[in-house]
């Protein structure tokens, strides 16, 4: 498997660390309910299809990436920097 880091270019999967679904970017604010935290931390759409998930270029530039990826075919259709993502 290969991912294209927006900074470093196409690299082998072994350079990356996987965290989980993009949900982790949407941290509930102060005062959010425990149900919101449960949803944020645990509940997942877990789609068999196109997902957006978080990878870290650990052996590279140390940037966190949002990867748009198909969990059935492993096709990757987009990679963006978490730090520079369109919010």
């Amino acid at each position: 498997m290969r991912l294209t880091c927006p900074l470093c270019g196409e690299r082998d999967r072994r350079e990356f660390y996987y965290y989980g679904a993009e949900d982790y970017l949407h941290r509930p604010g102060e005062g959010a309910s425990l149900a919101e935290w449960d949803s944020y931390l645990h509940l997942r759409d877990n789609v068999a299809g196109v997902v957006r998930d978080l990878w870290y270029h650990e052996a590279g530039c140390a940037q966190w990436l949002v990867v748009t990826r198909n969990t059935v075919t492993h096709e990757i259709s987009g990679v963006e920097l978490v730090a520079e993502r369109a919010k």
Binding site: L7, C8, G9, E10, R11, D12, R14, E15, H57, E58, A59, G60, C61, A62, Q63, L81, A83
Partner: protein, 181 residues
């Protein structure tokens, strides 16, 4: 008063096998420059006296013995000269954090192909490239310094492992050279 003698990780070790030379080299000061939000212009100004600028991703530039190496988003290592005072950036001394190994010879790229998961063909990795990648299980910065020459920066504490792995790969590449298909 203690007498503090400086030591490098590998005592300047070098070897030559099958036309490949591997050596620990001293590169002088290494300073990390991490640009703070809004600091781009100030950093550019600060670097101007050196004739250097923040490098594009995956590249390094040299000028009069000073080298600036891209090491990440809005980050570079200034190598070989003391860092001038810079506004707009976090500046951190990294001189002692890294061991630099120079690998050269026609088969140097074959040696690295045993350990580095990145495309090092000259077309994909021309002279002037700086890659943040891995050397087997270690993180590294690899500089393409010549058609047949690389410099490999690894964490100082892992220098012995890096040396051992490069040395082993060099021996295996050399042993193959005698093999006919």
């Amino acid at each position: 008063m203690p007498e503090l003698i400086a030591k490098s990780a590998l005592d300047g070790r070098s070897m030559n096998v099958g036309g490949v030379t591997l050596a620990e080299v001293q590169v002088g000061p290494i300073t990390s420059i991490a640009v703070l939000p809004g600091g781009t212009k100030a950093v550019a100004k600060g670097l101007r006296p050196l004739g250097l600028s923040m490098p594009e991703p995956n590249s390094f530039h040299e000028r009069k013995g000073a080298r600036i190496v891209w090491t990440g988003r809005e980050q570079a290592f200034l190598i070989g000269v003391d860092c001038p005072a810079l506004e707009g950036a976090a500046v951190t001394d990294q001189s002692d954090g890294w061991t630099v190994l120079a690998l050269s010879g026609p088969a140097a790229v074959d040696v690295l192909a045993r350990l580095v998961p990145t495309d090092l063909r000259l077309g994909a990795c021309p002279v002037g490239r700086a890659l943040r990648t891995g050397v087997n299980h270690m993180n590294a910065v690899i500089l393409r310094t010549g058609d047949y020459a690389f410099e490999i920066m690894v964490f100082r504490s892992m220098a012995r492992t890096a040396w051992h792995e490069l040395e082993t790969a060099t021996h295996m590449v050399a042993a193959r050279a005698g093999v006919k298909i």
